[in-house]
């Protein structure tokens, strides 16, 4: 869009951008000030697209020209180290595709769904403006810094620019976030499959399908990715229909009917098996399938929303901004900013932006399009998830997403609480009918966001594409979410294993050999035990594990973003661009405020559903008074331990952020005052020869 407008005569470009400003402001006004029955989803799309377009055209251009001073004549790592494998100068659209496929995971779909309990407005504003001013900037700057440093990773850059302490803290932080992330994603899948033979059998079928594709691509047709993917996708669609057949047969149905704890153990076992199996057998083929499904489904959802313009029934703001919401405890500030991490600003992206992507860029100029642009698209995915959650009747949304421990385990209790106490009307008959349409026995208490997103998607798809196969669409959506959650579980376990092997290798060199099988087994088992522990206790937590695990994940992810922004701010200051340091220091300051206040509340709030410690103390008091007996006492002891463990982790994240902020301030001050500090490690300028030679663009 920028290149087109640059080619236009100035008055016309001015007129177009003025129109975008007016349209965007109008759409934002429509969703912000609308009160009443329902608001059209089209306004969300228009508002978001206008803000992204303006952010990209003007703010990212400012960053590219002034703050970072992108230099198209400078050779990129891809050009200087070109080896045909790791470092490959690649067309910018292709890099964009790779980068987007890597950064877009289940996070932007789940976070907005959960945050919809505050109403659509807080989440939507944070997604749109958080991305344009924070998330896109972080991705862009991390990518830029890595390009200027031979494609080095975030951890290495933190060590080089901030010193050994910064590097070590970043490394341990990444490992911790990985463990929490996998646990919470596992919990989402478990909740979607609980007592649902159709969903369980379909998700289970994705494993042999991926293995089949893996064997095909290794032995029958090596490297034929498209052929393998086509076969796999066809089989996956068959598996969705096959699930309905399983569901209809009482005998076979029983094989796939599990409760939560059993499913948690299955996911844990699966995670271990997947992490020690060779990548070609399971991970690589499933990744091809999940990438294809992900991009295809997201595009289909965008088309469906534009075609259908569904009505958003959720109020702009609900009464739960006061912290009494059933889905997770906590006030709108700071918890909306923690719940929606991916989609607004996601620290994890900085690992991708300092991983594969910088090794592919043919020209430094492309960093703007890829870093800033891909994040804007991901943010748009989050907006669609928000729309899909808010097109449901609010009563239905709360019935699906509220844990039984909060609204009541029986259907009648749950609908009474939601209709009478929360004033979002819903009836047991309505929920029964919806469950029947979706091919499920019940939809009550299916926490985690995936099932309600699937219900929203199914209702949008079945109306947009002139189809009434609601149950098939529902299970298609569940399969699509589970597919790439399992990819993240597998890939994440593997990465955490490598990091653990690397750390242990410092003490025991043999453990550091990544292909030595005893080390592989031990380290994989340690990692799986780590996340499996949180997953299992999340499943049996009466308040719903999402309530404790999702905020922990959000804090961890924002902490990682803070690390990336600390590194970027230090680099800006040290490269004599301190007057532009606010571009990264601004979002950093906001994240520090948000993560610190959220961490503080999770630690010390007196609200039992927010504060880990007060919840533990409450249980301890109940135990001491003898009110709990037998199994309940045993469970209470475990919950107390878990609460304290969660509190310790939160404290660790809080300290990590402040250590890095302090280091950033120290190094920045030293640099400005001309004192001793780690030197800026930018690679010297080498003129690019690709500017003339490389004509693929």
């Amino acid at each position: 869009m920028a290149s087109q407008s640059e080619g236009l005569p100035r008055p016309i470009a001015f007129a177009i951008w003025t129109a975008v400003v007016v349209l965007g402001a109008g759409a934002l006004g429509a969703i912000a000030f609308h009160r009443g029955e329902s608001v059209n989803a089209m306004w969300f799309i228009v508002a978001a697209v206008c803000v992204y377009a303006l952010g990209y055209r003007f703010y990212s251009a400012f960053l590219a020209a002034k703050a970072l001073a992108l230099d198209p004549t400078r050779a990129t790592p891809a050009e200087r180290f070109t080896d045909g494998r790791d470092f490959v100068p690649t067309n910018r659209w292709i890099v964009f595709g790779h980068h987007f496929a890597a950064i877009a995971g289940p996070g932007p779909l789940i976070g907005p769904t959960l945050a919809a309990q505050f109403g659509y407005l807080p989440g939507t504003l944070w997604i749109v403006f958080g991305a344009v001013l924070g998330g896109c900037v972080q991705d862009f700057v991390a990518l830029f810094c890595s390009i200027r440093r031979d494609g080095r990773s975030l951890g290495q850059m933190a060590r080089d620019e901030l010193g050994a302490l910064g590097g070590a803290v970043a490394l341990v932080g990444v490992l911790a976030i990985m463990i929490i992330l996998i646990a919470v994603l596992g919990l989402v899948v478990v909740n979607a499959m609980r007592h649902s033979p159709w969903a369980t059998s379909t998700v289970a079928a994705t494993i042999p399908i991926a293995i089949l594709v893996g064997l095909f691509m290794r032995y029958l047709r090596p490297g034929r990715v498209l052929e393998g993917t086509a076969i796999g996708v066809a089989l996956l669609l068959l598996a969705v229909f096959g699930g309905s057949w399983v569901d209809a047969h009482p005998a076979i149905r029983a094989w796939f009917d599990f409760d939560g704890p059993a499913l948690a153990l299955l996911v844990i076992f699966y995670g271990f098996a997947a992490a020690v199996l060779p990548v070609w057998l399971l991970l690589a083929p499933r990744d091809y399938l999940s990438t294809f499904m992900k991009v295809g489904t997201i595009v289909a959802l965008a088309i469906a929303i534009v075609l259908l313009n569904p009505a958003v029934k959720m109020p702009a703001v609900t009464q739960f901004v006061d912290g009494t919401g059933p889905i997770f405890g906590g006030k709108v500030f700071p918890f909306v900013f923690i719940t929606i991490a991916c989609g607004a600003i996601s620290g994890f992206h900085s690992l991708i932006a300092s991983g594969t992507t910088p090794k592919l860029l043919a020209n430094e100029r492309d960093a703007r399009f890829i870093g800033y642009g891909a994040m804007a698209v991901e943010s748009f995915v989050a907006i669609m998830a928000m729309v899909a959650a808010c097109v449901l009747d609010p009563g239905v949304y709360f019935a699906i997403n509220s844990p039984p421990g909060v609204v009541g385990a029986q259907a009648t209790d749950a609908v009474t609480t939601i209709s009478n106490t929360y004033h979002f009307p819903v009836t047991a008959a309505q929920m029964q009918e919806l469950a029947r349409e979706m091919g499920e026995t019940t939809l009550f208490g299916r926490t985690g966001g995936a099932p309600s997103l699937a219900v929203g998607m199914a209702s949008i798809f079945s109306r947009a594409f002139g189809d009434t196969l609601l149950a098939v669409w529902y299970h298609f959506a569940i399969m699509f979410e589970a597919l790439f959650i399992l990819t993240t579980v597998d890939a994440g376990t593997r990465v955490a294993r490598f990091m653990l092997q690397d750390m242990l290798g410092n003490a025991l060199p043999a453990m550091g050999r990544t292909s030595w099988y005893p080390s592989v087994l031990i380290c994989s088992a340690l990692v799986v035990t780590g996340w499996g522990y949180f997953l299992y206790f999340g499943v049996i937590d009466p308040l719903g594990g999402i309530n404790s695990l999702w905020p922990l994940f959000g804090i961890a992810n924002q902490m990682l973003a803070a690390i990336a922004l600390c590194v970027a701010t230090t680099i800006l200051v040290k490269s004599r661009k301190a007057r532009f340091a606010w571009t990264t220091a601004g979002p950093l300051a906001w994240l520090v405020v948000v993560t610190s206040s959220a961490a503080w509340e999770k630690l010390f709030s007196a609200d039992l559903r927010v504060g880990f410690l007060s919840h533990a103390d409450d249980l301890a008091t109940q135990l001491a008074s003898g009110a709990l007996g037998g199994a309940a006492a045993e469970q209470a002891r475990r919950l107390i331990f878990n609460d304290r463990l969660d509190a310790a982790l939160t404290l660790f994240f809080l300290i990590t952020v402040w250590v890095l902020v302090f280091e950033t301030a120290r190094v920045s001050y030293a640099s400005l005052a001309g004192k001793r500090c780690p030197p800026v490690t930018e690679t010297p300028h080498v003129p690019s020869r690709l500017v003339e030679e490389w004509v693929r663009d």
Binding site: G84, R85, V88, I94, G107, G223, C342, S346, H349
Partner: protein, 60 residues
């Protein structure tokens, strides 16, 4: 129209990594000075997959 379809097909192959081996061969022809023979398609694919999954490749 045919041109457009061909272009779309090439983009799809490049995006999915379907043409990775052809690109590798082209790179070998252009840059390989010492004359070591290039890997076979199967061997190349094997090495590539192992390398690809040795780091953070997927996000949340």
């Amino acid at each position: 129209m045919t041109e457009l379809l061909k272009h779309a097909w090439r983009t799809l192959r490049e995006l999915s990594g379907d043409d990775a081996y052809e690109r590798y061969l082209a790179h070998q022809r252009a840059h390989n000075a010492d004359g070591t023979p290039p890997l076979s398609r199967a061997a190349f694919f094997r090495v590539e997959q192992q390398r690809k999954w040795n780091g953070v490749k997927r996000c949340c």
